[in-house]
Every structure is written in structure tokens, then in C-alpha cells.
Amino acid sequence: MQLGLFSVGDVTPDPTTGRVPSEHERIKAAVTIAKKAEEIGLDVFALGEHHNPPFHPSSPTTLLGFIAAQTSTLILSTATTLITTNDPVKIAEDYSVLQHLADGRVDLMMGRGNTGPVYPWFGRDIRDGIPLAIENYALLRKLWREEVVNAEGKFRTPLQGFTLVPRPLDGVPPFVWHGSIRSPEIAEQAAYYGDGFFHNNIFWNMSHTKRMVNLYRRRFEHHGHGLADTAIVGLGGQFFMRRNSQDAINEFRPYFDVAPVYGYGPSLEEFMAETPLTVGSPQEVLERTLSFTKEVGHYQRQLFLLDHAGLPLKTVLEQLDLLGEILPELRKGYTEGRPAHIPDAPTHASLVAAARLHEAESPVAVAEQLPSRAILDTVTGRSPEPADRSL
């Protein structure tokens, strides 16, 4: 089970003091939070991508690369990478470089983005969201898997004889998740490719999350990737905890009441009853989080949103200290009753091992899949084998 954080990167005033943090402060805070995540034993730090105020992460790989340099075990991911408005070629390039720099500690979560005006700023139309996500991702996969790419689609200048540089580390592309709150097409996309499916699980009730996850699981099996319960599922979640429940509620309420997205709506109590938000003691957070398995089955990745809504950095770091304290119990809880055939989320190491096994079992088939490799090698003088590299 992978546990971690995801952050949207909002620059929000602290409602209790009216103080507005600077973008500089928030960018540096993201680095501090990611390092702290590794320090307390979390596995993943995922960063959002936005191209409009009040958010700062317009260039996720710059920030993730900086974090990669200062961490050693943390998997760097995204929440989400805009597969609609970004050029898939640029995504492939940026994340290939990041994957090399981070020695494989990289995966991505694809998302569409829901801010209307961002689309035309990048020459797109939000009404094409689903077709863009489908075509662009198909191209991204090709770029990472084929040495010489010829591709034509509806949305991008055709590519003839294009080779992505750098090639993915060890010839293995980063693992990809697809995030969607309510689009069955995206659950279907994740299932079709055997990729992971992530539900942000923050704004809606758990029964909705369950429906989306069940759809993905059913279609994962339909498309022949294995049993439905072996599909790769990730969930979001959010909490605010203090040793004493009432202290947590009193402290978080002013942030909740005016929070972006769900502020000015239901009361904190209603929102806690209707959605997975837990505000209370560490024990309550532990129990609520472990109850997600009852809804969606055994899953692979749990990410928490902690750094948002104007909470000061000091408070977020205190939340991480408390999370660190319950982490062993959380990990233990996830292993309880977990059947042996439920896989872990793929990592670079597991994907490399799987690829080598596949090559060893069917060398002819692999050679046929990569007809261009030998030709390319004569051009670049590059060895077809990955260079030795100590992990």
C-alpha cells in the first residue's frame, strides 16, 4: 500500500488572520512539505497543475525535480497532469527527464482540468475534453514505447519520424494513473490500458466514488488485465486532526467554512457525514481511512489533501507529525484481510523486473515489437541495452 500526499498548490489567505502567503512562500512550502512527507515515512507526493490564479504549480516538473534532488525514497507524482491542454510531446519530454533525474521515482496522474478559460488560452475547447484526453494520451503512450513515432490525429501537428529524447529510464515508461471524479469514459480509458484509476474522493459522497471504482474494476477485467479485484485503484481523502476531536473541529472550522470549492455550502458536520472528510482525533482518522476498503475493495494508493485552504505551513507540518504517529497502525490496518493475490501499485523497479521477465520469456516477440531499435542504433551508436546503473 502506498500512502502519500496530494496538493493542488492553492495560494489562499489564512481566514483566521487574513494573511495572504506569497507565491514564493507557497512554492517553498511545497518543498518543505514533500521533504517532511518522506521523513515521516510516506511513499508519494503528488502535485497539481494549474495555469491560473490562485494556484502556483504551472510547471510541475521544475518543482518535482527540485524535490527529487532533496529526497531519496519518495515517489513524485502529479494530481493531475493536464493531458488536454498540454502538448503530449512536451509531457513525454518533461517527465522522461524527471524520471532519469529521480532514478525512476516518478509516476503521473492524467486529468482533464475543469477551468473553462484555461482551454482557449492553450488553443483548446473544454467541450473537446474527453476526445483530447483520449487522443493525447494515446500519443503519449506511443512516444514512450516506440523509438520512431509516426502519428496523426485531430488535435496536433502530425509527427513523422519523431524520436522522444531522452528515452524512458531502462526503457520503461512511468506508470500512469487516470483521475476523474465523474466521467465513465476516463475509468474506461484506465481499464482499457490496464493503467491505474484514481478517484479524488473529496467533494462527493463515498457511494459515488464506489460506483466509479466498480466501473473501472469491471472494465479492467473485461479488457483482460486480470481479475477486477487486482485493478490498480487510488483514492484521495482529507483530514484535520488534533489529539482531542473537539480541538480539531474548532481549529479547522474557520478554514472549512470559507474554503475554496466547498466553502459557503454544507456545514462541517454535514460535509463530514456526506464525504470522506474526517476532522477529529488520530484514532478517528485512522478508523475512517481504513473504512474506505469496505467501500472500494483492497486498493493500492491513498493520498491525503492536507495543504490547502490557507492552513499555515506550521499547522500542515503538525498534521504530518500526527500522521507519522498513526502511520504504522494505518499500514498494519491495510494488510489485514488483504488477500495475497492483490498486487501493489507498480513502481519503476517492479515495471523493470516485469519488462525483463517478458523479454526473457519471449525474446522474439519483443524484438518484433521494436523493429526500429537496430536501425536507430547504427545512427546514434547507442547500445540497445540499458546502461548499468546502481539503484
Partner: protein, 199 residues
Amino acid sequence: MTKLVVITAGTGNPSSSRLLGERLADASVAALRDAGVPAEVTHIELRTLAVELANHLATRLPGAGLRGAFDEVCAADGVITVTPVFNGSYSGLFKLFFDALDEGAMKGRPVLLAATGGTARHSLVIEHAMLPLFYYLKALVATHPVFAATKDWGTEGGKLEKRIRRAAEAFAQLVLGANPAKGDDDFEVVDFADLLGGG
């Protein structure tokens, strides 16, 4: 069992919109029974969902009551809607509900339109405000709407009762001939091969 849902947006308790909704439902059940079809009625009073509707507007989160109401509508063979007239149109609460309802929920679903107001001078609200809304939602609108002004409730000769009966009979015919989609718990899936092909 044929399932009728009555959606009323009256804000008083008791409300004349609810009263008209009940009269229309009773008459519709009777008309269906005459055709040999048993029917059951569920009432949704939007007044009781006002806070959940406002929360949904602010956050898109449907509360438990609202989810229940959406499920009722999606399972209905026919819907009777009654709004009070506010400032020359349906009330904001009435519109809020149909704005919150899933896209497509009213498509092909028989609807009987009705409204209440202080005087008969408001009666064209049904044609000028309600009809375009339900046309937009692709509902099947029954041909005889009912407007009840305050005065109608005391009119001699059962004139309102006759209009209710005539409206219910036309609505019942529509319900008998229609086959609206019934909500189920599963998403519609388009196979990815079709999506990939630009489907």
C-alpha cells in the same frame, strides 16, 4: 406498478401548490385505473430540500435527501410539477431543482405542468416560462396544463375539478404511451475501442 412523482415548489405549509399536486395526482391515478393500470404516487416538496439545493448549488454535493429525490424522478413513469408564480415566472426554488437534476433525467419523461397564483392574470406563466424549460429538458409535456388562482378554489360548478380531470386524462394517456428511461445504478459505458476511433 406505474410510478408517478409529484414535485411541488410551494413555500407555505399547507401550500396551494401541494394541494393542486395532490388533486392532480389523485385524478391521474383514477384515470390510469380506468385504463386498467394501477399507479402509486410519491410527493417531493422542494421546500424540504431548499437547504440541500443551495448547498448543491455552492458545492455540487448532493445531500442524502436530494439524492433520494433524484432517484425518484429517474424511476418515474410520469412527473407532475407544480410551482407558485413568483414575479411573473416559476419560483427560484423550482428552477434550482431542475438545474440540479442530472442532465437527461427528464428526457422522454411525461410531465404534467401546473402552477398556482393569486389571480388568473398569471395563468400564461405555464406557457411562457414552464413550457420552454421542459421543452429544453426534452420532456414529453402533456397537452392540458392547469393553473389554479386563489379564486378557483371557491368557484361554483366544479370548474377547477373539471380542468384537473381533463388534464389528468391527457397526462394518463401520455404516461401509458411513453417508455422513459429508468435510472439504474450503472454508468453507460462506451467501449474504449469506439472512443479511440473518435466515437
